[in-house]
Symmetry: C2
Subunit: 290 residues, 2 copies
Amino acid sequence: MIVLVGGSGYVGTAYQAYFNSRGIPFVSVNRSTLNLCDKEAVSKFFKELKPQFIVNAAGYTGKPNVDMAEKEKTRCLLANTILPGVLFEVCTDLKIPWGHISSGCIFSGSRPDGSGFTEEDEPNFSFRQNNCSFYSGTKALAEEIMDGGTDCYTWRLRIPFNEVDGPRNYLSKVMNYAKLIDVRNSISQLDEFVRATWLCWEKRVPFGVYNVVNPGSITTREVVEKIRQRRMVNKEFQFFKDETEFMQIAAKVPRANCVMDCSKLLKTGIPMMEIHEAVDWALDHWKKAS
Amino acid sequence: MIVLVGGSGYVGTAYQAYFNSRGIPFVSVNRSTLNLCDKEAVSKFFKELKPQFIVNAAGYTGKPNVDMAEKEKTRCLLANTILPGVLFEVCTDLKIPWGHISSGCIFSGSRPDGSGFTEEDEPNFSFRQNNCSFYSGTKALAEEIMDGGTDCYTWRLRIPFNEVDGPRNYLSKVMNYAKLIDVRNSISQLDEFVRATWLCWEKRVPFGVYNVVNPGSITTREVVEKIRQRRMVNKEFQFFKDETEFMQIAAKVPRANCVMDCSKLLKTGIPMMEIHEAVDWALDHWKKAS
């Protein structure tokens, strides 16, 4: 039996769909079924259920965006740090293997030579670096708590998207934001992310941290150009002049735009589509929200 | 009605004694009576009770010492960051004035000229500075969450002591540790701390951060000399050569030894005894644990 924590979120829903499509039995737990921040309660629940593997897809991202985390700090900290911390402590005690969905947004920019950050690099957008949003701080703090764990995967997701229009889909955001900022990012095709993370467990690749993004990086202007070519949106895209103007007008806290290296994952034999191809595919199969 | 959160701890017990001695009615709440990390539950509780003022004396310090926090990170974070964060959010919503007991251990050392840190100084021993113990990080993060609050006191306690022998009393620790490290610190006489913080509210001094320590600073060797003079302990005191030796042999994480300035508090007219006098008084009235 697999336990899926946070199954009702954007990422959790994709896990549910994947497990269902593959006939993998799972139990979905969330805040209403279990006090996920109560170590004793969580321990008791897992002792009884004896899950084979646990996926933690729960997390607080802030609605409509990460700026909201600055106003909901305890909620953000509970979901992004305490919850994985409790799972880490309980799973270590009970020797239950598990996977935590972390985020690439604990990095900013790229390596000095322009290449992506690897799993060996220290997060450079965190409380420890004193430069981050509260959201990124809580995600990095969770990784710090989990550091040294031997029975868990830390899977870093970065700006999820797929072909299904929706408020959390990166491509929908690009289409709908009034004004964009041109930045280079690594991003994760959501369904590939889910499959790749599950294959980590299924293939028993070594536990540890994995950047689970599509190979390569892409700029906002490149994405916009792909949308324009397909005449998917009937508007002129507006861009902020630069990050300074973006920060002055549209954002309260800095964003963690970054390039990430996923070769550690690819070396295990688990494939991810090249980033431009993945975006092309999603746009070519676009399912508009009704 | 006053609510005392965390009334069963070392500091909370001193508040209970103080309230009882002054005939101040209060309700003590703790984890077993209320899920203090559940914002909705806390909000509902306070809406019904309508407290006039809340004192948060709850906190995780680690037993036998702060090294334990490195092993109990989620517990430490829940008690030291989430709980005051929830109280901050609820009290702000409900406009309930309150006071949080923070810690001087978010500072290390002294100002460049040797004087104490004031309330204007940024914590220099925190996650943000990437140099601290997990414990200090959680205390500083709570102050960060509470920053900008308008209806709350942040009272910084620093190494509590009084004349009652016990495992949490600084003077008992000095008498009982196998080996000591000679460092300069500001410290807080516990009962004076409790009275001073309560007087902040009773006298309606402006809300904000206050370093509630005895004026001055004192070294471990000075304290030892006072104990020796009184022939209170029948042993030769041993000292580590320096902080490096102390860290190699006795400690896992760096300690936040620091000098703090309490003139902001003293200017309100609330007195604290000079630090050497306060230690002398405690030792002269020493009540040995049976």
